[in-house]
């Protein structure tokens, strides 16, 4: 049945092309084009349906181990568990591209279903742009990377999925990232729709915020899961290596974060309109750029992606879309000029502007470091590269500035903060930070960056706690609610704001987790059975080696008894495996994770005759807070995104336009407390 796949792809592509063309004609006809636009919309829905069928067919062939399909035989094997057979959908290039196209089509369907009845004048433009992007992916699937290519001879078994990829985090990591990359097409389409149609009022801003938060959420989760996977699977003791592929996912996240903040300034103050357009265009292009650099092979990465014809295609797409977006923007520059001006350096707008610059600075540093080998070769003829040390050295101070702004920005007043406002907002957090200095000193934190980071973490947490406390106190006074009800009502009635604070708290935890890197200890030790070695507070005793094998692999596992400060904790089993289908051995890390630190053990080798095992051991302080921070961020984003009560949306919508910023009124939303 796989032949059907090609037919479905052709049908989907033709439908997409039809939708695009008919929408453009419909838009050009203006009032008379309504029927055409309706037909174009229906075609877009149909394309979504057809691609869903196509994806379903590939899932079916993967599950049924139909090795006649080259893709299936390439990435799965009979003995693979069903879960990994299905996740092999995005194990290779063709499937990944199909996933992109399918997700993009689904996003389009969602946009259509939500806005079709609302008579949004920009909607036809938005759909047309999404269809144009989809057409690009469809073309790739038809001509460059066909997922349903068939083999002349059907192999008895497939090649199987690389064992390193057989991990739940790795099954979820690629589709989450793709949802992030693809999803950024929607805010881009809204922005371009506004530019092309000339409906530059704030409607697009309102719509686009939510549609940016969705892919941003997926990007966050995708990056976190990728880091988690690298940490538990790769065995080098870290989670982030500043590899070009990792950088490629971080860059749109940074600019997307900047956009999410500066769009608020536009919403509230009608400023930064051109800047916001530029930011969303840059964010989308960076999503494409990531795929371009990794798949074209112009930058060598430790991620061994297949290099193929899609690299140049993505390059071409990148250039075309950028030129188009810049052209669309240039036509409206005059209309986008700000009607308001920044009034004070000590105001929320200006700290948001600083936040934007810092985020863009970080993006530029990452971008520069990633493409530097290319530049130096082109300009000076020498190939020079910069690795992790560069990125760490540059980004740590930038990140700390960002963390500081996370605390300062949200509690400053709009327009201008009075001295009174500053005292009121910062007295508490500064006292907390002062106490933090003493506490950190007593705890023995002497590393400069770690000290500053933890201090800022305390400061930012204090501002967040203060915000929640004041909000809850106000509700309790005005509504006579108990604490719990007050917290809930506070969240429900202003989800965006308090969800945002929760995200900020997640960021704080992530920074705390990262600051632990300053205190990592690492050693390599060779010990005989019965002997022990010490690392940090841990004693690690190698008890014995066990060997075994099953159909898929041979393995050896060291039985290791771990104690902390003399107390036995538990037995760990770092392993080395050799899979039948793959020549190289793989490492199974043993991890003992606590809130204080992780003991991370890798079995590096074993000498039979001496009965001596070599271990690579790490003690990584505070890492667990990084993962917890990731989950807190996800929770906060959902809180800001998913309406908890139908009323909250209405309250929000009706309240906003009436809100006028007042001088010396620190928190408009908290009038009751003041």
């Amino acid at each position: 049945m796989p032949e059907l796949g090609n037919w479905l792809l052709w049908l989907a592509s033709l439908t997409t092309a039809y939708s695009l063309i008919i929408l453009i004609i419909g838009i050009r006809r203006g009032r008379d084009g309504a029927n055409l636009i309706a037909s174009g919309n229906n075609a877009a829905l149909a394309a979504g349906g057809l691609l869903t069928l196509t994806a379903g067919l590939l899932f079916y062939n993967l599950a049924a181990s139909n090795f006649r399909v080259e893709y299936v035989s390439h990435y799965t094997s009979r003995e693979l568990p069903l879960f990994y057979k299905l996740s092999a959908f995005w194990g290779g290039q063709q499937g990944s591209l199909l996933l992109w196209a399918w997700l993009l089509a689904l996003f389009t369907v969602a946009v259509l279903l939500i806005y079709q009845r609302k008579n949004l004048p920009t909607l036809p433009y938005v759909i047309a742009i999404l269809m144009a992007i989809l057409l690009f992916f469809n073309t790739l699937l038809l001509f460059v990377a066909p997922p349903f290519a068939l083999l002349a001879q059907i192999p008895a078994n497939g090649a199987g999925l690389n064992p390193l990829l057989q991990h739940p985090a790795m099954a979820a990591h690629p589709p989450l990232l793709y949802l992030g990359y693809v999803g950024m097409a929607v805010p881009l389409a809204f922005a371009l729709g506004a530019l092309l149609s000339g409906h530059l009022d704030d409607t697009w801003v309102k719509n686009v915020r939510r549609w940016t938060l969705i892919p941003w959420f997926f990007l966050t989760m995708g990056i976190m899961l990728g880091a988690r996977w690298a940490y538990v699977e790769l065995g080098w003791g870290g989670y982030w290596a500043w590899d070009p592929v990792e950088n490629a996912s971080l860059m749109p996240w940074l600019t997307g974060t900047a956009f999410l903040h500066s769009i608020m300034i536009q919403e509230k103050k009608s400023m930064l309109k051109i800047w916001n357009m530029v930011l969303i265009i840059v964010t989308f292009e960076l999503c494409i750029f990531g795929t371009f650099i990794t798949r074209s092979g112009i930058i060598s990465s430790v991620h061994a992606f297949a290099q193929s014809g899609i690299g140049p295609m993505f390059g071409l797409f990148l250039v075309t879309t950028t030129v188009f977006a810049v052209w669309a923007l240039s036509r409206r520059v005059a209309a986008l000029r700000a009607s308001n001006k920044m009034e004070s350096l000590v105001s929320r707008e200006s700290t948001f502007l600083m936040n934007n610059l810092v985020l863009l600075g970080a993006t530029f540093a990452v971008f520069w470091g990633t493409i530097f080998p290319l530049i130096s070769e082109a300009v000076r003829g020498v190939k020079i590269t910069v690795g992790a040390p560069f990125f760490n050295q540059v980004n740590l101070p930038i990140a700390m500035a960002l963390l500081a702004l996370t605390g300062i920005g949200p509690v400053l007043a709009w327009r201008r903060s009075s001295t009174e406002n500053l005292r009121k907002q910062f007295a508490g957090p500064l006292v907390a930070a002062g106490a933090g200095v003493i506490l950190l000193w007593i705890l023995g934190v002497r590393h400069l960056y770690a000290f500053i980071t933890m201090l800022l973490a305390i400061f930012v947490t204090a501002t967040i706690v203060q915000e929640f406390y004041r909000g809850v106190r106000a509700r309790r006074q005005s509504h006579q609610e108990n604490w719990l009800a007050a917290v809930w009502q506070l969240l429900v009635r202003n989800q965006r704001r308090y969800g945002g604070y929760v995200v900020h708290f997640g960021i704080v935890l992530i920074f705390v987790g990262i600051s632990g890197t300053a205190f990592t200890s690492h050693l390599e030790a060779t010990v005989r059975a019965g002997e022990a070695f010490a690392i940090g507070p841990y004693q690690v005793q190698f008890a014995q080696m066990q060997f075994g094998q099953d159909a898929a692999k041979q393995w050896m596992a060291a039985e290791v008894r771990v104690s902390r400060e003399g107390n036995f904790l538990r037995t760990l089993q770092p392993e080395k495996r050799l899979y039948v289908t793959h020549e190289q051995p793989t490492t199974e890390v043993a991890l003992l994770s606590t809130w204080r630190d992780d003991l991370y053990l890798v079995l590096a080798g074993y000498e039979e005759e001496k009965q001596a095992a070599t271990f690579s051991a790490y003690v990584n302080p505070l890492v667990v807070w990084l993962w917890i921070g990731g989950w807190v961020m996800a929770l906060g984003t959902l809180l800001a995104l998913v309406p908890l009560a139908p009323r909250s949306v209405n309250v929000h919508a009706s309240k906003k336009p009436r809100r006028t910023p007042r001088l010396a009124q620190p928190r408009e939303e908290l009038i009751a407390t003041d």
Partner: protein, 137 residues
């Protein structure tokens, strides 16, 4: 001072600071790609610099002086370079396979590798290979 001027100055200070960070970061951490030929032709030039060197591990050249101390040789464009490495060899390290070394060249003609990256000939895509320790401090 006018508020807008203050904001403008703050922006300038920020941009200059970030540029400075990037510039000084580059100077401290640059690593040059060299070929074995360049290295042999003018060894003095490269001593003390961060270097990346590509080559194929020579068969039977691997010796082990301790559990985590290795010596081997790599071959690239007809030149043989001796390599010393203290640490754990990546799982993907194999004789006759391509490796990418990062480290320094000593005067006595030995390349001291700090990190070994391997490019396995795997046909599987999306397989990251940071089996070597990528983030050494």
């Amino acid at each position: 001072m006018n508020s807008r001027l203050k904001i403008f100055l703050a922006v300038i200070v920020l941009v200059v600071a970030i540029m400075f960070l990037i510039g000084s970061g580059m100077n401290d951490t640059m690593v040059y790609y060299v070929t074995a030929k360049e290295l042999k032709a003018d060894p003095v030039k490269f001593v003390g610099r961060g270097l990346r060197l590509n080559g194929k591990v020579v068969a039977n050249s691997l010796t082990k002086s301790a559990a985590t101390a290795f010596e081997f040789a790599i071959m690239a464009d007809g030149e043989l370079v001796r390599v010393r490495y203290a640490g754990i060899l990546p799982d993907t390290f194999k004789e006759n396979h391509e490796v990418l070394l990062e480290g320094e060249y000593t005067g006595e003609g030995v390349f001291v590798a700090r990190q070994i990256f391997t490019k396995c000939a795997s046909k599987y895509e999306a397989v990251p290979e940071h089996d070597s320790t990528l983030m050494q401090k």
